[in-house]
């Protein structure tokens, strides 16, 4: 909260007034941020055009009303013109006014349509970088569909999980309170990118103001948007469709970097993925210490937003796992709810995790926070449970 308290210090009534006067004005954002993509520039321009038209119209309306309020009042001795509606203007205004408004409408709609045609549909037959953006309660998953590594003889797209970082874990060099994430979405500058949006649970919306992209993530749908990135930088956004408890904690961080840096980063991601896959494929018995350590890390990133770091959950929305009937009861039921989730609740099926990840999390849940069942769940137990589930 350090950043906030600093901010609040500056927030006396006086600095507020000074803010109005313009000194602090630079900090206060009043309009769209500076666009970082060609399409965002187009959108910025149409926004400025329509705001300008709206402002002019508003001034005209205010001017007429103001004039009338000043001159046409009884206290000035003005005598009401009882025949005003019988003048030629009164007779014909019902058609004059709509024609004028139609003219303005067509001006706006015409420019809007032009911009729309430029930004709406993904350019065809061009070399685009495809990124699948998957919304989850309450994190983002990015899949680089054009970059893959071979795992178990199958190509797997490079995948990034991006989660909110609490302020105490976010370093100085981050986007700040409610903006910092553990892994940003890295993209190369100068490239056209196509985003494919979908969701794993409820509705979300991917919104990055600098890129002027906003699209709903809808389960069962894949929708698309695209951008042509024009400058490097770190751009923050967040989920824009109410998605439940932690809707305000779904930040998006996009890092647009030079092509070479992107390549190097991509190489690093692939190595990490391969290393994780190799570790997961090891056929060995993991010790309690090993599993608990991995389990804590995995649980804290993947499960704690709902069940909390201390396992106490946030009842009634998210049950406590401490001493719970499932977590301290028979193992198969525990495996079942984690692997298959529970339909109609926020507990989704976590079967996309590796056997090792699941084994560690489940071991951790069964032994942490005083659950102390002493149960050790190995990756092969998970594998068996999966095949069972298939049958």
């Amino acid at each position: 909260m350090a950043a906030i308290s600093k901010r609040l210090g500056a927030l006396s009534v006086f600095s507020l007034l000074a803010g109005w006067a313009g000194t602090a004005g630079a900090e206060m954002a009043l309009n769209f941020p500076e666009p970082a993509a060609g399409v965002a520039q187009e959108i910025y321009d149409i926004h400025m055009l329509t705001s300008a038209i709206a402002t002019v119209l508003l001034v005209i309306i205010f001017a007429f009303v103001g004039y009338s309020l000043y001159y046409h009042r009884k206290s000035r001795g003005y005598r009401a013109d009882q025949r005003f509606h019988e003048t030629w203007f009164g007779q014909w205004s019902w058609i004059i006014v709509p024609i004028l408004v139609l003219g303005i409408d067509l001006t706006i709609a015409g420019s809007a349509q032009k911009t729309l045609e430029k930004v709406w549909e993904v350019p065809k037959g061009e070399d685009l970088l495809d990124v699948k953006v998957i919304g989850h309660q309450w994190w983002w998953e990015y899949e680089y569909l054009d970059h893959s590594v071979e795992i178990d003889g199958k190509p797997k797209p490079v995948r990034v999980e991006s989660r909110y970082l609490p302020e105490d874990q976010a370093g100085e060099d981050t986007a700040g309170y409610l903006r910092a994430v553990d892994n940003p979405l890295v993209l190369p500058v100068g490239k056209k990118v196509r985003f494919l949006h979908t969701s794993a649970d409820v509705l979300h919306a991917f919104w990055v103001p600098e890129l002027a992209v906003k699209k709903d993530a809808i389960p069962g749908y894949v929708t698309e948007t695209w951008v042509d990135l024009t400058r490097e930088g770190r751009f923050s956004g967040q989920c824009a469709e109410l998605c439940g408890t932690w809707h305000s904690r779904m930040p998006i961080e996009v890092e647009v970097v030079a092509e070479a840096k992107f390549k190097a980063w991509m190489e690093g991601q692939k190595q990490t993925m391969l290393a994780a896959a190799a570790e997961a494929a090891m056929d060995k018995d993991w010790t309690m210490e090993e599993l608990m350590e991995k389990g804590r890390a995995n649980y804290n990133t993947k499960c704690a937003s709902c069940h909390q770091i201390n396992g106490k959950g946030l009842p009634p929305a998210f049950p406590a796992l401490t001493g719970g009937a499932i977590v301290t009861g028979p193992i198969p039921a525990h495996l079942d709810i984690v692997l298959n989730g529970k339909a109609g609740t926020a507990m989704v099926a976590w079967n996309t995790l590796t056997d090792l990840e699941l084994a560690s999390i489940i071991t951790y849940e069964r032994n942490a926070w005083g659950n102390d069942t002493g149960d050790l769940v190995q990756p092969r137990d998970i594998k068996a449970a999966r095949t069972l589930a298939v049958k």
């Binding site: 941020p33 926004h47 809007a112 002027a212």
Partner: protein
């Protein structure tokens, strides 16, 4: 119009009996005035309930960080603020005005279907109880989770919610039934109970606005009812209307919701626009400008308003053709709406204006509603809406449309007709004070929200990045003052009911219309002999 020669000998003398005594008077009432009063009292109570949740929201958003509210409680308040204000405050208040004024204005002794009238009102307290229960059951043991979906109750999120969602669905059904019954009554009354010689094109515009509103309600409420029933089935009976995994479509719910939801905006606004058609000519001392074009504009709004709903859903991934259609349709609505605003300004033009409280509200409405309408055109522009959608800019926009367009219009109507209803003039000084505090604090609350929205603050978030702090502080301060200012309104109304300068039959110098021919307050049974209206 209803400027007419009236047979003054034949009204007011038919007080065969007064109202029954005690609780029975209200419980079994079939009298349009008593039912109108009950609607208004109910709406006023709900206004305070919805206002409390709004103020809690603003207190939470005063500073970044989680101070007062848990996230789900915040979401719950966001949901109930909207639902209480729309279904509890604005719609019943407008129905209260309709009950009181339509019979008086068209020279009818009562509504056409008085027992139905009783039923439509008395469903409301029951429905409101269900509605409020849906927000508080989660605080009882075993009550499940809070409604964290917003008033749009989009699935799949609304399928995750506990039993409180079922309470809500039931409450919405009852509220819908109440509205539809009231609408039927209003339509039948308007079609059958006008005094001889009052042709459709001589009815006061307020009556016209309610006729259009009633038709809109009957057309769209059943669609909402269908949508929420399907939601109920998805929640409990294993259907998959909105569940993609079962072959259903989550977007279908949004279409059903907004097919109701967009016309609902006009349902909220039109009656208030009708109030303006009485208030503005009165205090401009000049006939209403453009009567027939107002009627035409309203009918156009009703028709176009029903076919542009998906502008609330530009981000769902519609085709280029579909979004173009919805964009152009939405922009076109500015023609009838603009014509309406124009006619009111032209009514003021070259009038001899005085500025009593109803007129102050009317002028405020014309200016602020125009502003809200213009940001509405901006929002209609699809590419720009990629930024505005679901941001605080939208929150600012619709409060500028609905607060002036609906709520201030109701305030104007209350001040305008309060002398008629109670027989007392309200305290003009206090009322003007209320107007200024109310309107200034309203602008302090909502104007800054445009900026934070453009700068990137989404709506419906419990906590925000520090860059949005300053404007949220301002907005919250405004919001608290705005909320509290309504206590002054309550005080003024109570004071007027209790006493005050005796109001004349025609409480306002420039007032025209049948309601001003009756004594203030009118007898319990009025127009038992229809007034005589000269053939035009």
């Amino acid at each position: 119009m209803s400027t007419a020669t009236i047979d003054l000998e034949h009204h007011g003398e038919h007080e065969h009996h007064g109202p029954p005594k005690g609780l029975k008077r209200w419980l079994f009432s079939t009298n349009h005035k008593d039912i109108g009063t009950m609607y208004l009292i109910f709406a006023f109570t709900m206004l305070f309930a919805g206002g409390l949740s709004a103020m809690a929201i603003r207190v939470e958003l005063f500073l970044p960080g989680l101070q007062l509210l848990e996230p789900d409680l915040y979401n719950n308040l966001v949901t109930n603020h909207a639902l209480i204000m729309i279904f509890g405050a604005v719609m019943p208040a407008a129905a209260g005005l309709a009950n009181w004024m339509i019979p008086l204005m068209i020279g009818a002794p009562d509504m056409a279907l008085p027992r139905l009238n009783n039923l439509s009102f008395w469903i409301l307290p029951a429905a409101a109880t269900m509605l409020i229960l849906s927000f508080i059951v989660p605080f009882f043991p075993g009550g499940g989770t809070q409604i964290n979906t917003g008033w749009t109750i989009y699935p799949p999120l609304s399928v995750q919610v506990g039993m409180s969602m079922d309470f809500l669905i039931f409450a919405l059904h009852m509220l819908g039934i109440s509205s539809v019954l009231a609408s039927i009554n209003i339509i039948v009354t308007i079609f059958n109970m006008r005094v001889p010689n009052m042709t459709m094109m001589r009815m006061p515009i307020f009556v016209w606005t309610w006729l259009v509103t009633a038709f809109l309600l009957i057309l769209v409420i059943p669609v909402l009812a269908g949508g929420i029933t399907m939601l109920l089935f998805d929640r409990h009976f294993g259907t998959s209307f909105f569940n993609a995994a079962g072959g259903g479509d989550p977007v279908l719910f949004q279409h059903l919701f907004w097919f109701f939801g967009h016309p609902e905006v006009y349902i909220l606004i039109l009656p208030s626009m009708g109030v303006l058609a009485s208030v503005v000519p009165t205090f401009s001392r000049k006939p209403l400008f453009g009567y027939s074009s107002l009627v035409g504009a309203m009918i156009a709004i009703m028709i176009i308003g029903m076919v542009v709903w998906a502008h609330h859903q530009y981000t769902i991934g519609m085709s280029l053709g579909a979004v173009s259609y919805f964009m152009i349709g939405t922009i076109i609505i500015s023609i009838p709406v603009g014509l309406m605003v124009f006619n009111y300004i032209a009514t003021m033009w070259r009038g001899a204006m005085t500025f009593e409280t109803p007129m102050l509200f009317a002028i405020g409405i014309l200016l602020m509603f125009s502003f809200g309408g213009l940001t509405g055109i901006m929002l209609a522009v699809v590419p720009a809406d990629m930024q505005y959608h679901d941001s605080m800019f939208v929150v600012a926009h619709f409060h500028y449309v609905l607060m002036p367009g609906a709520v201030f219009g109701l305030f104007a109507g209350v001040f305008y007709w309060l002398p008629k209803w109670t027989g007392h003039m309200y305290d003009e000084k206090l009322a003007k004070l209320f107007f200024w505090i109310n309107v200034i604090s309203f602008n302090i609350t909502f104007f800054p929200q445009h900026f934070i929205g453009l700068a990137g603050m989404p709506r419906r978030i419990v906590d925000y990045h520090a860059m949005f702090t300053e404007f949220n502080v301002i907005s919250s301060i405004g919001g608290i003052v705005f909320g509290l200012s309504h206590l002054l309104l309550l005080y003024i109304v109570i004071k007027t009911v209790r006493g005050g300068k005796q109001a004349e039959n025609k409480a306002w110098e420039g007032a025209k219309g049948l309601e001003w021919e009756l004594p203030s307050p009118p007898p319990f049974h009025s127009w038992t002999t229809p007034p005589k209206l000269a053939a035009s």
